[in-house]
């Protein structure tokens, strides 16, 4: 292994799942080799950018790439949606961070992903499958046109329960309804792993509490460095305070104080909105004075027309 084979963070693939959700595959052979399910990276788009945490959705050791699935919801994630094209590079990407998810010896597990959480639950589902478990996937989306990676999950899940809020694909309902179906059909489920927005993970933990089924969740609070230095990502777990970046990001869902987590996620909402508005305005101005090629692209400049979606975002800082 050569240390100098460090990446220049080149984007080699981009795929748009919907108007707001997109996938980036970034070249970083060393990280692809080191990454394990449950870990995350911190990305900087440019020199003036902020550091945003993004969960690793997949890694390909052969190709030497890291896959990120991102929802355009804040200033940085929308700017990335506009600017990150195949062949462009990120200013920085550091990782893999956090303690890898423990792929336990459970024989039957439910892997739950909601919205953008569908992406990071994939390496876990695959990990459990490779460890010989019977894997039931429960995926939740708002509607049919937001569904992605169904085929990828079918390839590693023994059962797949797809839920949409409006019933346009799979069963109508939330992931918690999917969990109920899974629990009703199997009495020997040993573990549930849930990734998604905090409100969803809270509901999942509540759904399994009575049956005392071990439930792991992956939290993603606001971070700066991601190396245990700022303490911005502290979460209450039972009677302890943990740093998600170095003590997590996976914790026992029955112990996490989700209400506290949700309040803390809103810390910078107001200033972030200002930053985003300022940025959208400058984009609009650029357009008026003669649109650059960048803005002429399919998704360019659309972001300010979109309403803020549910906080299905992986990166609250973004």
């Amino acid at each position: 292994m050569n240390a100098n084979a460090m990446s220049n963070f080149e984007i080699v693939t981009r795929e748009d799942f919907s108007d707001v959700t997109y996938l980036l595959e970034v070249r970083h052979p060393l990280m692809a080799k080191a990454a394990k399910p449950g870990q995350f990276v911190i990305v900087m788009l440019n020199e003036h950018g902020e550091r945003i945490p993004l969960t690793i959705a997949d890694f390909d050791r052969k190709k030497g790439t890291i896959t990120l699935v991102i929802q355009a919801v804040g200033k940085t994630t929308r700017q990335m949606q506009q600017e990150c094209r195949v062949g462009t590079t990120l200013y920085g990407m550091v990782g893999p961070m956090g303690i890898p998810s423990p792929i336990s010896h459970a024989k039957k597990v439910v892997c739950v992903g909601g919205g953008l959480g569908v992406a990071p639950i994939f390496p876990q589902a695959r990990g459990f499958k490779e460890a010989g478990a019977y894997v039931i996937g429960v995926l939740g989306f708002r509607s049919k046109d937001l569904v992605f990676w169904e085929d990828k999950f079918r390839s590693c899940c023994d059962e797949l329960i797809l839920c949409t809020n409006d019933g346009s694909a799979g069963m109508k309902g939330f992931v918690t309804d999917g969990i109920k179906v899974a629990l009703a059909g199997h009495s020997d489920i040993e573990e549930v792993i849930a990734i998604g927005p905090p409100v969803m993970m809270k509901a999942c933990a509540d759904a399994t509490r009575a049956a005392k089924i071990k439930t792991m969740v992956s939290v993603n609070p606001i971070m700066v460095d991601g190396t245990g230095m700022c303490g911005g990502c502290r979460v209450k777990v039972g009677d302890q305070v943990k740093f998600a970046c170095v003590d997590g990001p996976d914790f026992d869902g029955h112990l996490v104080d989700f209400d506290d987590l949700m309040v803390r996620l809103g810390r910078y909402t107001k200033v972030e909105k200002e930053a985003h508005e300022r940025w959208s305005d400058s984009c609009r101005m650029t357009k008026q004075v003669g649109a650059s090629a960048l803005h002429a692209l399919k998704h360019g400049g659309q972001s300010e027309l979109l309403e803020l979606p549910d906080p299905f975002e992986d990166a609250p800082g973004g």
Binding site: R51, V224, V246, V263, R264, R278
Partner: protein, 482 residues
């Protein structure tokens, strides 16, 4: 030394101390008695030949002064600014027995800044050897170790987890105390020595210390990752919005340039009435940054008295001048919320000093019934840091009971070829102590690799050495005894 007016500087991020002019430096240099027992040299953690460089200033030979300084200290511009001189060289200065001690730190800074301005770099004659050295962490310990190993002829690579090198010098110490341009200039000097910097690299997770030795071809590794894990108070209301660590606030402001938000994307928590808990250098930095970001009131909450405050005297003085309100012998009891998850105020209790504790400082004890509340909308904890857990999680390095890396007196760890120094071994300390540890580890590393390192060339008089390398040394072949 000329300083910016407190009222003016409390609104900007320009450097507070403007630095000496040549006339100032000449006048100050004449105050040195060149006393025979040289207490200042033994007071300096790296043993700079202080009377020597001051004499050169007196002779108006600034290049000569720079050569003497860089014999032992590669980063004079940084150390001149951030060393706690009052406890080191200046604290034992003979002149200080009856008058103000010689302003050694300011003179050092003057010479260092002149060198940066003139573009002087002392690049020694380096004969490359076949050894590769990996340094984990680009803070002061890593920089000092890297410099010494590069001078010994090793191929040195420094890994940094952040996107820019410099460690605590960059993310922690604000620009008005240590401008980033100074740090970058010193790092550029290291690059001229052949040191390579690799940022965005989280050692332990991207690859482990063991992999560096076993797979990546490093013959020795130095771990200087600091002790950045911030301590929280563990009082009610700790997790409210508006309570943050000094590390978070300083990193957002200094490294991420949150103070220029929204031109930079990182948001900055802004408070009108800011309470900073603690009275160390980091606390002073957090308070003075808060003032510069527009806070109307900044309070310092410290449970001991001013005498026990760990900050440099100059920093406390500067903070006071700029309008920080000090509340000595006051300890926080609870953070009060506004019912929406935000900070509304703080409840404190008065303290008095009792018997001395383990640290030799008098232990503060609460005064019964003295609790009181006050209004604040931003609370910053600057009450110390703990060991970062990543190295312990990912390597076989033995840790001590506090989680710091265990190292012997030569800074060798439990893994052969791996050395450690700075805050990750001792717990939070100063920049110059970290540099001292980096250099000590470099000496041990050279011994481990079998690189000839005659005695302690760094504290010999400059007569026999050139840029820290014994002048005789280049005539010897370096042989590794396997």
């Amino acid at each position: 030394m000329r300083e910016q007016d407190p009222q003016v500087r409390a609104k900007n991020f320009e450097e507070v101390a403007c630095g000496y002019s040549l006339e100032d430096a000449l006048r100050e240099s004449e105050r040195c008695l060149v006393c025979p027992d040289e207490p200042c040299i033994s007071g300096c953690p790296v043993g700079i030949n202080i009377p020597g460089f001051i004499q050169k200033i007196g002779e108006k030979n600034l290049r000569g002064a720079y050569d003497i300084l860089t014999d032992t200290n590669l980063l004079p511009s940084i150390c001149g600014r951030v060393c706690p001189q009052e406890n080191q060289c200046e604290g034992v200065c003979t002149v200080g027995d009856s008058l103000e001690p010689v302003a050694i730190g300011r003179l050092e800074r003057f010479v260092g800044d002149t060198a940066l301005k003139e573009g002087w770099v002392n690049i020694p004659y380096i004969e490359p050897n076949r050894f590769r050295v990996g340094i984990v962490g680009s803070g002061p310990a890593g920089m000092a170790c890297a410099a010494d190993m590069a001078k010994a002829g090793c191929d040195v690579t420094v890994y940094e987890a952040f996107h820019e090198p410099g460690g605590v010098l960059k993310y922690g110490i604000p620009d008005f105390r240590l401008p980033n341009t100074v740090i970058d200039a010193e790092i550029d000097n290291l690059k001229k020595f052949g040191v390579k910097f690799e940022c965005n690299t989280l050692v332990g997770r991207l690859f482990t210390i063991e992999q560096m030795i076993d797979e990546m071809g490093f013959h020795a590794v130095f771990v200087g990752v600091g002790a950045g894990y911030p301590t929280m108070l563990n009082i009610p209301g700790d997790s409210l919005n508006g309570v943050l660590s000094a590390n978070e606030m300083l990193t957002r402001c200094n490294l991420m340039r949150g103070r220029d938000f929204p031109n930079f994307d990182t948001p900055m928590p802004i408070g009108k009435r800011v309470a900073v808990v603690g009275a160390g250098n980091t606390a002073m930095d957090a308070m003075r940054v808060s003032l510069r970001l527009g806070a109307e009131k900044v309070y310092c909450i410290y449970r001991r008295s001013r005498t026990e405050a760990p900050a440099r005297a100059e920093e406390v003085h500067h903070a006071e001048q700029e309008g920080v309100e000090f509340h000595w012998l006051t300890a926080p009891v609870a953070v009060l919320d506004d019912g929406k998850g935000n900070v509304r105020g703080m409840r404190c209790v008065r303290m008095e000093l009792g018997e001395p504790d383990d640290s030799g400082r008098r232990r503060p004890v609460p005064v019964a019934g003295s609790e009181f509340d006050f209004e604040t909308d931003l609370i910053i904890y600057a009450i110390g840091t703990n060991a970062n857990p990543i190295m312990g999680q990912t390597s076989k390095l033995k840790l001590n009971k506090w989680g710091y890396i265990g190292a012997d007196e030569n800074l060798a760890t439990s893994v052969a070829g791996v050395f450690a120094g700075g805050d990750i071994v001792t717990g939070a300390a100063t920049v110059i102590q970290a540099m001292g540890a980096g250099r000590k580890a470099a000496r041990s590393m050279k011994a481990y690799l079998g690189i000839r390192d005659p005695g302690l060339p760094y504290i010999e008089s400059s007569g026999g050495t050139l840029f820290g390398i014994d002048t005789r040394e280049r005539n010897f072949a370096r042989v590794r005894i396997a």
